[in-house]
């Protein structure tokens, strides 16, 4: 008869606690929306299209371009991400569109 083995779990508990995501907005009208880009996968072509489309659909919307926040996947990624929450708050940003993950 073959030996049997009682084996333990090869993974590890998640040290990160579940967090509550931010409340969604009622509308994008009169809101300030930031674009964040990793400088990859044609974001420089798509974000301008998105800005035009959002402006058409929502009165008073203000888009803050990705240029204002730098390359969030480049050599300074860690520093930029660390300062991003304060940066967004300081600029009065109401919502964020982030790309491009491919």
């Amino acid at each position: 008869m073959d030996t049997t083995y009682d084996v333990v779990w090869p993974q590890s508990p998640r040290g990160v606690q579940q967090r509550r995501r931010a409340d969604r907005l009622d509308t994008l009208t009169n809101k300030r929306v930031a674009f964040l880009w990793d400088y990859l996968f044609r974001g420089d072509e798509l974000f301008p299209v998105l800005a035009d489309e959002l402006t058409k659909r929502f009165d008073g919307i203000e888009v803050v371009g990705y240029e204002e926040f730098g390359n969030l996947h480049g050599a300074n990624e860690k520093e930029l991400l660390l300062s991003l929450p304060a940066n967004l708050r300081d600029r009065g940003i109401d919502a964020v569109v982030s790309g491009m993950g491919c």
């Binding site: 084996v7 333990v8 040290g15 929306v33 400088y39 299209v49 919502a95």
Partner: protein, 468 residues
């Protein structure tokens, strides 16, 4: 995704634009940061493979609505999986065949048979070390899982490691926990895999092979420690195809590359670990993720001047889109590795050349046309935004002057910013005239070295089997 997570942490709603092939990794990344179920706006297909008009049409027809919905539709919060086992729970009971079948089905294996990780076996691996099994070395930046000594040991048992390997594995886990290494990028689509390099006086005593077949499976120490890394990245960091691993191809787990210390001492060259600030007498493990490798075969010549051109050519042949780590995805973080056989290293040393001399000579010859460099990072890969020329980047202060000695597109420019960026190691068959060139993946698995502490740990002795 990490940018969206930063926004959510500031209580600002976000939506992430992702291609459909990336959605699983995006969800897993959010979960690993405690934000299960963040909104995604998934594009139709992969944008890089679409004509511009087709891409715009797809984007306007479907993605824009998803972006808006992600910001204003208040979907219910998603609860994370909180039904997971505890570390000491028995997750399966069965024969060795049944255990292996179960582990493959759960995604816990690497395709090879594993040693069943029983509690008794894990404890035996730990008992001589004095380590507290519940000590946490950090948190996996991809999965959010704790890097406990216990989890290191469980995967060590599975990989077939011995107790004496544990200090090396702990040092490797410390590298993975180091933000400078960037372990969260270990599943990027280009599929680089890590190369572990071992230095120090204890390597040989532990049975690491630095001679013939230095990078081939066979030597137990080299193979099992290399395998442990693959298992640990799967099981604790979540680099499986359904979560964080988006490698298009990938590579088999690489056995550890142990440098030939005896040769280095004999010729008076410092080991690789000196490049990272350590002494030659220190036991050090160094790791970086490698994109490509090529054998520089049958290096012919009896003087440095005769063999340097071929070695430099090998470095240029292994270098392509990775140049975006000179500027783009990285910044001055392209740092390829040339592994010389002891015979070739001795040839240089006999002529009085130091490693620094070799680096300087390679720097002068490992060059490609500026136009080709610009194509690799721009036109052909789209990895460095803006299509700026090397001359533009020098003018901006992003690159050193050597990249703009003229504006001739056919001028030769170096593949790295300075000679020290060309790393050199010595290993392999002492009687063969071959070399191996590797290109690294910049900040996505950046060169990181840690000291290995082989001494008995003074951690508090714990009651394994007690509270966890």
């Amino acid at each position: 995704m990490r940018a969206s997570i930063a926004a959510e942490s500031a209580e600002i709603p976000s939506v992430s634009i992702v291609c459909d092939g990336f959605a699983g990794q995006a969800r897993a990344t959010a979960r690993g940061h405690g934000y299960d179920g963040l909104p995604l706006a998934v594009t139709v297909g992969h944008v890089d493979a679409q004509a511009t008009g087709e891409m715009f049409s797809n984007f306007l027809d479907s993605t824009v609505d998803r972006i808006i919905a992600g910001l204003i539709d208040d979907q219910p919060q998603v609860d994370a999986d909180n039904q997971e086992p505890s570390a000491l729970d028995v997750v399966f009971r069965g024969t060795i065949d049944e255990v292996n079948t179960h582990f493959v089905a759960q995604g816990w294996g690497d395709g090879h048979p594993v040693i069943p990780p029983t509690q008794d076996r894990v404890e035996r691996l730990l008992e001589e070390s004095g380590h507290d099994p519940w000590k946490t070395l950090g948190v996996a930046p991809s999965s959010g899982r704790d890097l406990t000594i216990w989890s290191v040991a469980v995967n060590a048992v599975m990989a077939g490691c011995r107790a004496e390997h544990l200090p090396i594995l702990i040092a490797l886990a410390e590298i993975l926990a180091d933000p400078a290494y960037g372990a969260e990028h270990s599943g990027n689509t280009t599929g680089a895999d890590a190369l572990i390099i071992l230095n120090g006086p204890n390597a040989r005593a532990l049975g690491f092979n630095s001679g013939p077949g230095a990078m081939r499976e066979g030597a137990h120490a080299n193979t099992s420690v290399g395998r442990w890394l693959r298992l640990y990245l799967r099981n604790v960091f979540g680099f499986t195809a359904d979560e964080h691993d988006k490698a298009t191809f990938g590579n088999p787990a690489r056995p550890v590359l142990a440098e030939d210390l005896a040769c280095l001492v004999d010729i008076g060259w410092a080991p690789l670990s000196n490049d990272f600030g350590f002494e030659s007498t220190d036991d050090i493990v160094t790791m970086a993720r490698m994109n490509s490798g090529t054998i520089i075969g049958s290096v012919f010549g009896s003087t440095p001047d005769e063999i340097v051109p071929y070695l430099a050519n090998g470095l240029t042949r292994v270098t392509a889109w990775d140049l975006t780590h000179v500027y783009g995805l990285g910044h001055d973080q392209f740092q390829p590795l040339l592994v010389l056989s002891p015979l070739l290293a001795r040839l240089f040393a006999r002529a009085g050349w130091t490693k620094s001399d070799v680096q300087s000579a390679l720097f002068e010859l490992a060059r490609i046309e500026a136009k080709t460099f610009e194509c690799f990072i721009g036109e052909w890969s789209n990895l460095t935004a803006g299509r700026r020329t090397l001359v533009d980047l020098v003018a901006e202060g992003a690159l050193p002057d050597v990249y703009a000695e003229s504006d001739d597109p056919a001028r030769l420019v170096p593949i790295v910013t300075r000679p020290e960026r060309l790393l050199i190691a010595v290993a392999g068959d002492a009687a063969r005239a071959n070399a191996y060139a590797f290109s690294n993946d910049g900040p996505h698995g950046w060169w990181t070295a840690k000291k290995i502490d082989y001494s008995h740990s003074s951690d508090l002795v714990c009651d394994v089997g007690g509270t966890r």
